[in-house]
């Protein structure tokens, strides 16, 4: 029974990882940029949720659309002002630029909100859990998982069924050919970065009732996000979702069997093994 509980918890936390990883993989797949600022975008999403609650009294799930739209704008703005100039450059410059953006967002958060841990109490959900037999499912975590699933399906639908989505995939596959067909590549990038950022915002909203926010909260989650992205196959949206759940479960099981201290080592060692043995990931990067 305990193992099932561990599995359930792993799957649920995996949903949050998935939500972050889907955004990373989308940007990576379409723009070929490893976005090291994705964790900070999640952090911004968390603070924004907190702010909307403390200032306007909005329930985080009510604030969801506001945060998502705001983060879309932030991501698009980051592309328009900064990333646009480096899409043609090597990945070193891109990575360092996104690192710089991350440092700026982190410092700004520290200056505005201070370094303390702030959490959000929402009465209907706090400590609330659904108990089935001896299995307990945290409602906030369940909500996060459901949102992650819906967001992934919505994104897959967008990529597969709409002209904008097809243009994103076409740009991912062959940027020059896309240009020759009249696809405005920079606008596609802008939208991609906006969606990637909005997904980080969504993850932030869903995480806020689970976990306290502080300026460097994104760093650790981002690293796990990278593991998930590589596991799922760079650029594969469905792979990122699946990878998120796998990593969530692996982390939980390793934590239970070997102790929490070892679970990080296990996760990152697994990461190296995947990189070396199957760098294309479990699903080849063909969704984007």
């Amino acid at each position: 029974m305990t193992t099932i509980q561990i599995l359930v918890s792993g799957v649920l936390i995996g949903g949050v990882y998935a939500l972050l990883a889907v955004g990373i993989t989308l940007v990576l797949g379409v723009m070929k940029i490893v976005n090291f600022a994705q964790g900070e975008l999640l952090m911004v999403g968390m603070y924004l949720t907190l702010l909307l609650h403390t200032v306007l009294g909005l329930h985080p799930y009510v604030a969801f659309p506001i945060v998502v739209v705001a983060l879309f704008g932030l991501g698009a703005g980051i592309h328009f002002g900064l990333l646009r100039w480096v899409v043609d450059r090597g990945h070193t410059q891109q990575i360092v630029l996104t690192l710089g953006i991350g440092i700026v967002l982190q410092s700004a958060a520290l200056m505005i909100f201070g370094g303390s841990f702030q959490s959000l109490q929402i009465e209907p959900f706090r400590g609330g859990s659904i108990v089935i037999g001896s299995i307990s499912i945290g409602t906030t975590r369940l909500a996060a998982f459901v949102v992650a699933g819906i967001a992934t399906i919505a994104l897959l639908f967008l990529l597969d069924r709409t002209l904008t989505g097809k243009a994103m995939r076409a740009t991912a596959m062959d940027r020059d050919a896309a240009t020759l067909m009249g696809i405005p590549v920079q606008r596609v990038y802008l939208i991609t970065m906006g969606i990637g950022s909005a997904l980080a915002g969504a993850a932030g909203v869903m995480l806020m009732p689970i976990y306290p926010v502080y300026p460097t909260v994104g760093v650790n989650i981002l690293l796990i996000g990278f593991v998930v992205v590589v596991l799922g196959g760079l650029g594969s949206v469905a792979g990122a979702f699946l990878g998120g759940i796998i990593i969530g479960v692996v982390e939980a099981l390793a934590g239970f069997w070997l102790g929490a201290a070892m679970s990080q080592i296990v996760v990152f060692a697994l990461f190296i093994v995947i990189l070396l043995v199957r760098p294309q990931g479990i699903l080849k990067g063909d969704t984007v």
Partner: protein, 345 residues
């Protein structure tokens, strides 16, 4: 043989290979020694803050210069360079504290350890390209950090290792700072010399060829894997050595302070801002950013927390956008432009 072919090829490496005469290594040594002497004098009489600033600048300059061999010359974005730095710091400190082995011997063992780690990490990871390599090295750095945290009997875990403040040249521990300036400055000079020698040799051209286009380099007969492994070994060894000097200076080690991802990122930022791939780029980056960071932290740290990292981040963004070849690259470009103008007029 391959060097000639590379020389004749028309890729972007061409101007760089052609325009560089053999570095005057003796000049570098001469001026380096004078500069170190001057800095040592300054640090012995200046307030501690400035002495500390000089030592930290030299340490980070050496670290970024060592990263440059693999990250700049060979173009392999290593995001886990703190692994070598930390390995060196822990190796000599554990040998010193637990076995009483002098840090000087510890330094040599650290060099060997770092070089070995560079080789061992390189063998599997150099097969990976672009962002994959960057992510793999990032993960390796995190694994080493977690190992240091986990194996507490050896490393003290997060509690860290506190080194005995026994003064003297034999223990590489001093009350004053000028000795550290001499040691770290001398080490930096060695790093620069090795880098300079690499750049002016066939090895340097081969690294440049691998950086610009690995497939093409292989086609031209460059053994890319071997070249990268050698660069990784040298880079790792040099980074580990500076770890020992750092440990003997700060006298206190924690996993986060020497193995943290933040350390790796700082190294890259210094090199990229200064100009990665250029001999003096990382040094320039350290000279500009480390004192700037320390000054902002001192002036505003208590009142405006976050300002010093904000300044850092903004500088990184501006340099990447405006001077993609780093500040050193921008300066040499400008100098070349002025020269050309002067010739024309």
């Amino acid at each position: 043989m391959s060097q000639q072919i590379v020389n004749r090829s028309s890729g972007p490496i061409d101007p760089m290979v052609r325009s560089r005469p053999l570095p005057k290594h003796s000049l570098l040594i001469g001026f380096g020694v004078v500069a170190i002497a001057l800095l040592a004098f300054v640090s012995s009489s200046a307030p501690v803050f400035y002495g500390h600033m000089i030592v930290m600048t030299l340490i980070y300059a050496a670290l970024a210069t060592s990263w440059n061999i693999i990250g700049g010359f060979a173009g392999q974005l290593s995001l886990g360079h703190a692994a070598f730095f930390g390995l060196g710091a822990y190796t000599s400190s554990i040998l010193f504290v637990d076995f009483g082995i002098s840090p000087w011997i510890g330094l040599l063992i650290a060099l060997l350890g770092g070089a070995t780690l560079g080789l061992l990490i390189g063998i599997p990871t150099f097969r990976l390209r672009g962002p994959y390599f960057a992510l793999a090295t990032l993960a390796l750095g995190i694994i080493l950090l977690n190992v240091a945290v986990h194996f507490r009997e050896l490393t003290g875990g997060h509690v860290g290792i506190s080194l005995p403040p026994t003064e003297g040249w034999g223990t590489m521990t001093f009350l004053n700072r000028w000795q550290y300036v001499v040691i770290a400055g001398g080490y930096l000079l060695v790093c620069l010399l090795i880098s300079g020698i690499i750049l002016s040799n066939r090895f340097g051209y081969q690294l440049a060829a691998v950086r610009e286009d690995e497939e093409a380099a292989r086609a031209l007969g460059v053994n890319a894997t071997r070249v990268k492994l050698l660069a990784g070994t040298l880079s790792g060894g040099l980074a580990a050595g500076i770890g020992t000097i750092y440990a003997q200076y700060i006298l206190f080690l924690t996993p986060d302070s020497v193995l943290g991802t933040a350390v790796s990122i700082e190294i890259i930022v210094l090199a990229i801002v200064g100009g990665s791939g250029k001999l003096y780029g990382p040094l320039l980056g350290a000279v500009l950013l480390i004192p700037a960071g320390q000054l902002v932290l001192r002036e505003f740290g208590g009142a405006l927390p976050g300002l010093h990292t904000l300044v850092y981040g903004v500088i990184v963004i501006i340099v990447i956008l405006l001077f993609p070849r780093g500040i050193w690259g921008m300066l040499t470009d400008t100098a070349a432009l002025i020269n050309r103008r002067r010739k024309h007029s």
